[in-house]
């Protein structure tokens, strides 16, 4: 089985190609990320594994939330690659990918994900018992009250450290924790295992922030 995973939704960009050789991955961050390097990274992993896009059985991707243009680049790339060879796709919330990664890394099932959404807000979600809940756009002072048994992850914990920890009651958090495409592969495999094959047909973004235009007072 060959699965490609792609994430460009936040300040990082990563691809991972799953094959009988395991996961072959690339990860970049910052300025490099914003320069549209996703396909050159795909080139690298495909030639390393020695297959072509035709050989894919599925594509897993982050569908947002995140930076709007990053989210759309991710969706656009997945649309293009999948259309070419009619490859089934499966999208996951950026918050779920981060939550899943953190749960695995810290060996807990109580994760509070906060991604910096700019404009004084965070993309917020709870990852518990292998499920994402409470996915929303919030003011940092409006998050769930949780407690010490939770671990906070994501850039929101850097941008709004104090308010978030006060409100949530979480004192253990890690701000530089990003989505990883390797985790997308795991999520894809778990999903296929549990629910059989799946295809979301037309990959589309999740923005969470929707008040993006003001109507003119004509």
């Amino acid at each position: 089985m060959h699965i490609l995973a792609i994430d460009t939704c936040t300040e990082v960009c990563s691809v991972s190609l799953y094959s009988n050789q395991g996961k072959t991955s690339r990860f970049i961050k910052g300025v490099e990320k914003s320069s549209g390097l996703i396909l050159p990274l795909c080139d690298e992993v495909f030639s390393e594994v020695g297959i072509t896009p035709k050989d894919l059985d599925g594509i897993a991707y982050t569908k947002g939330p995140g930076a709007f243009t990053g989210v759309r680049m991710c969706i656009g790339v997945v649309q293009g690659i999948s259309l070419a060879h009619d490859i089934p796709t499966m999208g996951f919330s950026t918050l779920e990918v981060v939550g899943f990664g953190a749960a695995k890394k810290f060996n807990t099932d109580k994760i509070a994900v906060a991604l910096d959404a700019r404009m004084g807000e965070v993309y917020w979600g709870l990852y518990q018992d292998q499920k994402l809940t409470n996915e929303s756009l919030r003011k940092p002072d409006d998050v769930n009250t949780l407690g010490q048994d939770f671990i906070g992850v994501g850039t929101g914990w850097g941008a709004h450290e104090q308010v978030l920890s006060e409100r949530s009651g979480i004192s253990n958090y890690k701000a530089n924790f990003y989505p990883k495409s390797e985790n997308l592969i795991d999520l894809y495999l778990i999903h296929v295992n549990e629910n059989g094959n799946f295809d979301d047909k037309l990959p589309l973004p999740t923005y969470l922030r929707n008040n993006v235009a003001h109507k003119s007072l004509k």
Binding site: P40, T69, R72, G76, G80, H85, L202, V212
Partner: protein, 340 residues
């Protein structure tokens, strides 16, 4: 040239229309479809870039599928993909670019960044009777007003351009002043038909001195002031505005033709749909013994057919993007293009 058929898929997403076209070296334009976002932006009184991008990402893929099935072709029949890389709205361009580059990458075929205005400029070549090089091109759209010396594909020299508002923009803004619904250009033109040409005389900006540059923002102000004084004479104001703009464009076209000694003029971009502009320029053509060409009405405004054609003419000559990077050029001059 090889006799093998080459088919180019064109993707346009630079502003508020998603356009897809298929151009074949054997049959010419074989299919094209357009989704216009006009209604989406109407309630905001102008294009909202973020909403435009959000719409493009939903429309592009279904539209590609629709065009392929209209042409009864498979993706495997496509030999190259051309997409608008600029100029235009960055977020909107990025959608077309991401899809085009990744689709081409996945199909293992070449992709090419197309200059939106070259698309407009070459649109008359989609018609049966085609202009021959060299020619003067008048490009008049919502974002651009320019006169270009066209010696061949990619051999462009800008002779003059607008120093402020583009002419389409001036139409839209003046229409808004008159309380016409968005997008105002066509509405203003329709209203002008009922106007009396002799009632008001608006200035012909920058025609009293040499040069081929334009300025249209003053006309809009003139219209506003006139409307404040004569609120019941909308049609006459629309007429005066239209006459002033079309005559200004005509005067500059005449200068450009005299200066270059070319005997062909092509007119493209959204405003080239304007009937009184066409009348004025046809008259000029007769007087100077110059042939005037326009795209058909539906290819005056943004569309995928012109992007497929412009890309096609380069792809068949081996032009292509050598990087797989997803790149856009929101600002991009026609003069930077490579000659074919």
């Amino acid at each position: 040239m090889s006799t093998k058929v080459f088919i180019t898929l064109g993707i346009e997403s630079s502003c508020d229309e998603t356009g897809i076209g298929l151009y074949s070296s054997e049959k010419g334009l074989i299919a094209h479809q357009l989704f216009s976002q006009v209604e989406l932006h109407a309630e905001y009184g102008g294009v909202v870039p973020e909403l435009a991008s959000r719409d493009h990402i939903q429309r592009t893929l279904p539209l590609i599928k629709a065009v392929l099935s209209e042409a009864e072709l498979q993706l495997s029949d496509i030999n190259g993909i051309a997409y608008t890389a600029g100029p235009g709205l960055a977020g909107a361009l990025l959608v077309g670019s991401s899809i085009a580059k990744s689709l081409a990458w996945s199909l293992d075929i070449p992709s090419l960044a197309v200059h939106h205005m070259e698309g407009h400029l070459l649109a008359p070549l989609l018609e049966e009777t085609q202009p021959e090089f060299p020619f003067v091109a008048l490009l008049v759209s919502g974002g651009h007003t320019m006169l270009v010396d066209v010696k061949g594909i990619g051999k462009y020299k800008i002779l003059g351009e607008s120093l402020d508002d583009a002419v389409g923009e001036a139409f839209d803004k003046t229409a808004k002043i008159l309380g016409l619904s968005y997008p105002g250009g066509p509405a203003l033109a329709a209203l002008a038909e009922q106007g009396d040409e002799t009632r008001f005389k608006f200035p012909r900006p920058m025609t009293d001195r040499p040069g081929l540059d334009f300025s249209f923002s003053g006309l809009k102000t003139f219209a506003r002031n006139t409307f404040a004084k004569y609120p019941n004479e909308k049609a006459n104001i629309a007429k005066a505005f239209e006459v002033a703009t079309t005559q200004t464009l005509m005067i500059k076209c005449r200068r450009a033709l005299e200066q270059t000694h070319y005997s062909t003029l092509i007119v493209a971009g959204g405003v080239s749909a304007n009937q009184s502009l066409r009348k004025e320029l046809n008259k000029l053509g007769k007087k100077l013994a110059v042939n005037v060409f326009y795209p058909r009405q539906e290819f005056c405004t943004d569309n995928g057919a012109m992007i497929a054609l412009a890309g096609h003419l380069r792809l068949i000559k081996g032009h292509k993007f050598i990087t797989n990077k997803i790149t856009i050029k929101p600002r991009w001059s026609l003069e930077e293009l490579e000659a074919v």
